[in-house]
Structure formats: C-alpha cells, structure tokens
Amino acid sequence: MYVEFAMQHAWLVPLLPALAFVAIVFLTRPWQKLSAILAVGSMALSCVIATLAAYGIFTNHEYAEKPLVYATRWFSLGLAGMPDLQIDVGVQLDPVSAMMLVMVSFISTFIFLYSMGYMNGEDGYSVFFSYLSLFGASMLLLTLSSNLLQMFVGWELVGLCSYLLIGFYTHKISAREAAKKAFVTCRIADFGLLLGLLSLQIVFGTLNLTELGEKISHFEDYTNFGILTMIAVLVFMGPIAKSGQFPLHVWLPDAMEGPTPVSALIHAATMVVAGVYLVGRTMFLFHEVESAMLLVAVTGAFTALFAATIALTQREIKKILAYSTVSQLGYMMLALGVGSLTAGMFHMWTHAFFKALMFLGAGSVLVALHHKADVWDMGGLVKKMPITAWTFVIGGLAIAGIPPFAGFWSKDEILVATLAEGHYVLFAMAAFTAFLTAFYMWRLIFLAFFGKENPANHPKESPWTMTVPLIVLAVGAIGAGWLGTPWHNVWAEWIYFGHPHHAAANYGAMLLSVVLAVAGIGLAYTMYLKDTEKVKAKAMAEQYSTAYRVLVNKYYIDELYLWFNHALVDGAAKIFYLFDIYIVDSIVNGIGAFAKVSGEGLRVFQTGRLQNYVLIFFIGVLVVAVLMAFVGPSNAVPVLGGVK
C-alpha cells in the first residue's frame, strides 16, 4: 500500500525539499536549528518516498520495459509553419530514474546531516540550508522529469544552486571568482544544449522522453542523418561542462572553494553526474548516431586519463579529489560512449558513495586542521582521527578498484564493456587510468593519514553528525557494488538500453585491474610511506621537472583560456567597446532621449483645456477619414501589410 502511494505520488520527492526551501526563506530563517532540521527532515522524508517508489519499480519487471509516466499538459501553442508546441510536465519512473532518485536523496540526506555539524557557527547557517534544499529539489526534479524541457529547468536550477553554494563564502574573492567561473562555463555549454533541445522540438515536435525515443528510432521519417548528428553533438555540449569533461572541466576544481559538504554533494556525488544522467536519458538519440557515440567515448576516456595525470601532482586535498572526480566522470562517459548504459550508471552509483565519503572525510580533516589543505603538511592523522582515517581508507580501496569494494565491480564492468566493443586504445587508456588512480589516491592517503605526525597539528575526531554519515557512506562504499557482480548481475537485469546483455565474467580483465590497482598502491607506498624522507618523490619531480611543472599547472589549460581571453576576447572587446560607446550608446541614448523629449513634446498637447481636446478629437476624425478614403487597402498593402 505504501509502495503504491509512493509510486503514484513520486512528485512529492522533489516537492518536499522545495517546500523546505520556501519555508526556510520566508519563515524559519531566524531560527538556525529549526531551518537545518527542516532541510534534513524534508530530505529524509523524500528519501523514504523515493526508496518506496524504487522498491515498487524494482519488484515488477514490467517497468524495465515500460516506464511509469504521470504527466499533464502544461501549455500548448499553435504556431504557423511548425508542429504545435506542446509542453508537458510530469514524472517518469523507470529503473534508471528510480535508482538515481534513491541515490540522490539518500546521499543528500546524509550530507545535509553532516552539514549541520560542519557549518556550525558559520554566518548564514539558515541560508546555507535553504540553498541545499533548493539544490535537492532541483536535482530530484531533473531526475524525475518526463520531458527534456522540464529537465532543462532542473538542470539550470542546479547550476544556479551550484553558483550560490560555491560562492557561499562571499567574503573570499577566490570563492566569488570560482562561482562566476562555474556559472559562466556551464552557461556557455548550456546554450548548446538549449539549441539541441529546440532542434529536437522543431524536428520531432515533442520533448517527451518516451515519445522522442519512439520517434527517433524511426528518424528517417522526420529528418536526415546530418541533422541528427548535429542535434546529438549540441545536446552533448551541456554534459561536457556540467560533468566536467575536457575541455570545459576547468570550473570543477575551482568549485572546491565552496564549503566541503557542497563539494561532496554537488561537485562529486550528484550534480556533476547530471550530465552523465542526461546522456543516459537520451541514449536513444546517441545510439542512432555512431559518430556521436564515438565522440562521447573518446571524450570520456581522454578526460579520465588527462585528469588522472593532473591529480598526480596536486597538493591540496580537495583539489586531488576534484581531479579524481573529473577522471571518474570520464569513466562514466566512456561507458556510455561504448553503449553500456548499465556500466555507466553502475559506476555513477558506486562512485556517489565512495566519492561523497572521501569528500566528507576531507571535510572532517579540514575542520580538525583549521582548513590547512596541503597534504604534505598532514601526516599520521590516523592516530587522532581513526574513524575519518579508516573510512577514508575504505573509500581509497573502493576507488582504486580492490575487490570486493564497490569501485572494483563498476570499473571492471566499464573495462569489459570497452573491450567487448573492440575499442582497444580506449581500453588501454582506461586501464592505465586505473593504475594512476590507485597511485594518486593512495599518495594522498599515505601522506595525510599515515607516516610521521606533523607536530604543528592538533587534530581531534569530529562530532557524531559528521562521523555517522562517514560510517554510513563507508558501508555503501563497501557494498554498493555487490549489486552488479559478474556472477549474479542484478544491476544489468534492470538498468540497460535496448536489451539486457549479460557479459560473462572476464577473469582476465578482472585480474588486470586488480594487478594495476595493487601496483599503483604499491608504488605510492614505496614513494610516500616507506621512504620517510620522500627522497624519491622529490628526486623524480626534479628529474622530470618539465613534465612535473606541466602537470602541477594542469597542462596550462587555465592559462591558455586566460591568454585566449586576453588576446582574442579582450582585443575584440576593445573594438566592441568603442563600437558600443560611440555607436550603440548613441543609438540607445538617442532612443531614450527621443522617448523623453517626445514624451515631453506630446505632453504639450495635454493642456487641460476642453476646447483643445475637442479640436484634437476632430482632427483625429479627419485624419482617419482621409486615411480610409484615400489610402485604401490596395495602396497601403505593400507598406503596411494586411495580406491574409
């Protein structure tokens, strides 16, 4: 009974946090604790409903084939020369959205709880929770949407929340700059996405996911291949920025200026995977266009490798995690690009747990060390902060791909899918990335949590509101992958595109990824833990100083953009500035002045004298009469229109 209620009222899931947002903004803002409880409570309730609804979906195999859609018409317009514009709003429940719903609401609940401890005593405590609630609502809206326009609304709203939360410490210039960068970068790409959506509407006359899926599979009836390719590429632009793919990944590492729970929630576990989710949702589109699939796969694989190499040399704990996120998002894109929705979504699922876990662990460390972020200044934290350290180790094992932790199963799935499609180069890139991942992540762990203690630090374990989410997420980081083991793959039975395909266990690939992971950890061990003076690491940095510098400076991508901005945009801007000052401004000011002067001028007629009014009235009659008599329709048509 509860399950049925939850399935029919799935719209409550985004609504509850939205109501919490409204309530906090308008009513409870002066009471900090109440605001926080409201935010956490509404999200927890959403999580319960989401879980029940997901239970309903995952116990009935019908829904895997036929999604449950509750939609209503928002508005419809007839426009000349185009298919009628009909926009629906609704919720679509199927295994993919149900999984995402559970993941987002579950992780959000615990991160909200964690924020209660983390943000304690900060200015704008209530405001922070109102933003978090708005974010939760938008993300869940995006997840549940049954059509792309509604999804786009959610998409832009999460972008807005991301902006607000990155720049939450408004007194910090770097935070403000980072927020701006994130917003502008995503906006640029979203323009492409919007163009893609508009093209879909124009060509297929609908933005409803189910109808689009139906129509695109017969796209010859509607359009030719070229347009479909263009649409797919345009749509993919949105995910490139939102999910931090090369070359628009630049905003994501900077986004770490926000409070740590925000980094964990938005820039690791949920919002950044929205891009992956969108590609997964529109798989029917990409699936038809081989070149677009290849673009997705290559972008993903390249991003994965590229970000992993940058992560090797970073020193700030959250920056390392940020680049690792970019890299893992690349994995997910790679999976989608080789046509495996199963693997992509699976990695998204497991990644959400272990990456949120590690970010929260990093937050716990930062609080203990008063926001000293350089991993080289840490060391030996395991003794003072055992819960944080050991849960972080679990996260590290998961991301490195050590069985039976969650990341192993999903990463293995991606490798196998890539191999099965015959993309050997991409497979090699992915496998090498796996090695690098294990190395840089364990470099972080060895430097921060083990080895010699830094006497300047006086860490102590965080309060329960922070450690409980860590423990819960650690459990997830261990067990979330057991849904999709090659021997009994429950995951693949539910989440797939086209037909469920069940790959046999590929022991070779499994062995390879374990060996690579162990090798990475081992190398990190010898360089950063065994060698207490870190001689080797320093020697290597000196020996390969050019490569080292390139990596520390993140391939100079930011500088490249800055140079580009400086040379081209600023140069062009100067020209446009002059154009603006002398030509546009004078036109605009001219119109304004004209409006004002003519307003004043016309006002002269308003004398207040009745006789004048009557005079003008009859002049008007005369003018209209002349107009009608002498400028008949035949004369006026060419100038003034009127052809029906």
């Binding site: 018409r73 928002w74 508005f75 419809s76 317009l77 426009l79 000349a80 119109i591 304004g592 409006a595 004002k596 003519s598 307003g599 004043e600 016309l602 006002r603 007629f605 308003q606 207040g608 009745l610 004048n612 009014y613 009557v614 003008i616 009235f617 002049i619 008007g620 009659v621 003018v623 209209v624 009469a625 107009l627 009608m628 008599a629 400028v631 008949g632 329709p633 006026a636 003034l640 229109g641 009127g642 052809v643 029906k644």
Partner: protein, 484 residues
C-alpha cells in the same frame, strides 16, 4: 424576414435576461437600503453589493454554454457575452472589496455602490447587444453612471473638473458615434448588427459608409481612449476618485472592446480590408503615444492612465485580423488586465488613504513600510510590461501571435514600446525599493484589501505560469462569436 422584424409581440424567453434583471434589482436595492439604513452603518452596503455581485457571478457561470437570441438578434446571450459579463463583475467585485475604506471616507455609500452597479449593468447590456438601440442604451447607462462617479468627491475641485470634462467630452463623442450609427442605418435600412453585416457584404464601398465607419471608430475610440481620441483620459483618471478610475480603466474599456468586436467583425466584415488597416495604425499610434507620454509623468495615477492608453493599443492589435484567434487574444488580455490594473489601483487607493498623495516621489521606501503593497505593485506593473512568467506576457503573446503574418511592423512597434514601458514601470519599483521613506512607520493592510491584492497577484501569477486552462475557456467563448 424583414416583416417579422418589427413585430414586438414575439414570444421571447425573459430568462435570457436573468443576469441583467438581477443586477438592476441589486442596484435599486442598494439605493433604497441607503435611505433606510442609518448613516453610521452604511459601510455594510459594500458587503451587500459585493455578495450580490458574487451571487450574480455564480449565476453567470451556471449559464455557461447557453446560447439564446432574443427579438431577431437584438439581444445575444452566448459564451462570448457571458465571458465579458464575468470579466466586468470580477472587476466590480475586486474594486468594491479593495476600496471599501476609501469609499467609506467619501460618504454617500449607497449612491456610490448603486451607481457602480448600474454602470456594470450598462456594460453587461453592451456585451449582449445585437443591435444599435440595445448597444446605445447600455453605453449611455454606463457612461452617465461614470460621469456621476467621476465627480463623486464633490468638495474636491479636481474631481468636479474631471466630471465636467468627462460629461462634455463623452457627450460629444456620443453624438459623433450616433451620427455614424445613423448613417449606417440610412445605408442599410437595418439596426441589427448581423443583418447589417449581410447587407454591407453585398454593397460596394460608398463614401458615406466610409464616413460612417470613421465616425463609429472615433466614437468608440474615445471610450477605449485610443490615440488621438484619448485626450480626456489622463485628466479624468487623475481627477476621479481612485476606485472610479480603476473601474473606468478596466470596465468601461472592456465593455467597449466587447461591442467594437461585435460591430466590426460581425457587422462590417465586408469592408474588413478598409478598417483593418486603420485599426493597425490606430493601435500603433496608441501604443507609441501612450508609452512615450507615460515616461515624464510624476503622478502615479496619471502614469497609470497613460499606461492604460498603451494597454488599449495592445488590445486593439487583436482586432486587426478579425479572426477567432484575434478575438481570443483580446478577451484573454482584457481578463488578465483586470487583475493587474485592479491590483495597481487598489494599492494607489490604499496608499492615498495613508499618505494623502498620489505623487510618485511619495512612494519612496514603500517596500520598507509595507512589503505587501510594494510587492503587489511590482508584480502588477511587471505584468503590464509583459515580463514572463506573469500573465501580461502570455496575453501579449496571444495578441501579437495573430498578426505575425502580414503585420510584422506592428509586432516590432509593440515589442520596442514594451521595452520602453519597462523604463517607467521599473522607475516605480526603484522608488519603492531603493529610496528610504520619509516616514518609516509600517503600514498595516486591512484584511479585505489584503485579500483583494493577494487574489489579484496570485491570479496574475497563475495565468502567467499556466495559461492553458484560461486559454481553453476563452477559445470556447471566442468560438461562439461566429455561431450566429
């Protein structure tokens, strides 16, 4: 069957006149109660009128779907007429509920309410008018009621001056209109609009007909304050008591649009090509002049007067194509215009009671004194400017959508002038939100006013965000227009 036309003993069903009869009874009842009820408790008359209107509104809704034609098309009852009647009554109910205190301050409540109700009755007759006599009857009932209402504040020189001006100019415009109607009667031998439509379609265009149409356009252009027949409206709007201004701006204009569409689209479709162009030019000039002259105004009522001239220009756009879509656009816009205008004027009326001034500069810091009043004003003004997602945007969209093919230049005029209008609308917002108040005591808003304002604002938002349901209803109403 011209012979039957003058047979007045035709059996007709008086139930088609239910709404009008009820309204007449209510208006008379309020007038009589004013004599009986002691002076101290006459404020209750507002509630009587309000409940009465709401009751008649309910009857009107229950009649939805009826289609009657009385006395050979003299009186038409269809969804088109019903929709307009609902619009008028909604406006009347809002203005009574929102301005009760203002009216109590003026005194003579019985006369005031009864005249408002008689004006409403006049509008209702106009909406159903199928021939010239009925139409003129309704028009004069409405106009004369308004003349008295405009000079209701007898001790205020401005109000009296406005009343005299309105009386004289309305009289003149009535004469012009009547002259035009007479000419049409002379040319066709009929006063029934549908009949005239059939006859004119078969005649060639004669100079006399041109003159007749011009005079009718001028006479009715006066009522909707289309430029250049608008000169009366700023003076009258400023001088009249604010609730009267509000009702004049909404009700009288909407009723005139109702009859203009009957007259031109049903009565003169044969010479559509000739008047469509004139309407397009009038619309353009009205939009331009209304918006431009609104800019230098310093009195908020005067500014709203010019803005309402501009709004009439936008509505005229819907007439140009003489299609169902255009009719729908006009009705849709008129309906949502009720809420935005009423909200703005109720704020002005309420604030006048507090501050004793209608000058824009005295609105400084309103947001600090009463967030509700400032927010309602802002939403109303932005809706008039056509900013999405407010109702005004949807309304303008439906209006201009009809003329994209063929009158693109007019779309651009509307677009550019909408941008200009944002300037003077937002200037009010700037004064309300940025400036500091001279006197910072908070203003408490009495609950009837708050209800009116919140209702109007929610309606503006809801129609804007979800125009679909209303659009469907209006489509249905516009559809019945051509079914006679």
């Amino acid at each position: 069957m011209p012979a039957d036309m003058f047979v007045l003993t035709l059996p007709f069903d008086p139930s088609a006149l239910t709404l009008e009869m009820l309204m007449a009874v209510l208006a008379t009842l309020v007038l009589i109660m004013g004599i009986i009820v002691p002076k101290g408790s006459r404020h209750g008359l507002g509630w009587v009128s309000l409940l009465g209107i709401l009751g008649i509104l309910a009857v009107a809704v229950s009649l939805w779907g009826e289609k009657r034609e009385l006395l050979n098309g003299m009186y038409l009852l269809d969804n088109y007429a019903l929709f307009w009647k609902i619009t008028f009554m909604t406006a009347a109910a809002l203005v009574i509920l929102g301005c009760m205190r203002f009216i109590d301050n003026m005194g003579n409540q019985a006369e005031y309410y009864s005249l408002t109700l008689f004006a409403t009755l006049g509008m209702m007759v106009m909406a159903s008018a199928g021939d010239f006599i009925t139409f003129y009857l309704g028009l004069e009932l409405m106009t004369l009621s308004f003349v008295i209402l405009v000079c209701f504040r007898k001790t205020d020189a401005k109000s009296v001056e406005a009343g005299i001006k309105y009386l004289l100019l309305a009289g003149m415009s009535s004469a012009v209109l009547l002259y035009g109607l007479t000419l049409i009667y002379g040319l066709t031998g009929s006063i029934t609009i549908l009949e005239i439509g059939r006859i004119i379609a078969m005649q060639p265009l004669s100079p006399a007909l041109v003159l007749a149409v011009v005079l009718v356009i001028a006479g009715l252009g006066f009522k909707i304050s289309a430029v250049p027949f608008h000169m009366w409206s700023p003076d009258v709007y400023e001088g009249a008591p604010t609730p009267v201004t509000a009702y004049l701006a909404v009700g009288s204009k909407a009723a005139s649009f109702a009859i203009i569409m009957r007259l031109f689209i049903s009565g003169l479709p044969g010479i559509w090509e000739n008047w469509a162009m004139v309407m397009a030019i009038l619309a353009a000039v009205t939009i331009i002049v209304g918006n431009l002259v609104a800019i230098p105004q310093t009195n908020i009522k005067r500014m709203l007067a010019y803005s309402s001239i501009a709004q009439a220009g936008y509505i005229l756009v819907g007439l140009v194509t003489a299609t169902e879509a255009g009719i729908k656009g006009v009705m849709f816009y008129a309906f949502l215009y009720v809420f935005a205008t009423m909200a703005a004027f109720v704020v002005v009326a309420y604030y006048y009671n507090v501050a004793g001034s209608d000058e824009l500069k005295d609105y400084a810091g309103l947001a600090q004194r009463s967030p509700l009043l400032a927010a309602v004003m802002l939403v109303a003004l932005l809706s008039m400017a056509g900013i999405p997602p407010l109702a005004g945007f949807a309304g303008k969209f439906y209006l201009f959508k009809t003329i994209v093919d063929g009158y693109l230049w007019l779309v651009f005029v509307g677009l550019i002038m909408s941008m200009v209008s944002v300037y003077y609308y937002l200037r009010v917002a700037l004064v309300m939100y940025r400036d500091d108040p001279v006197d910072a005591t908070p203003i408490s808003v009495s609950s009837p006013v708050a209800v009116t304002l919140v209702f109007a604002t929610i309606a503006t938002l809801v129609i804007g965000i979800c125009p679909g349901p209303l659009s469907e209803i209006v489509n249905g109403a516009a559809h019945t227009f051509f079914l006679h």
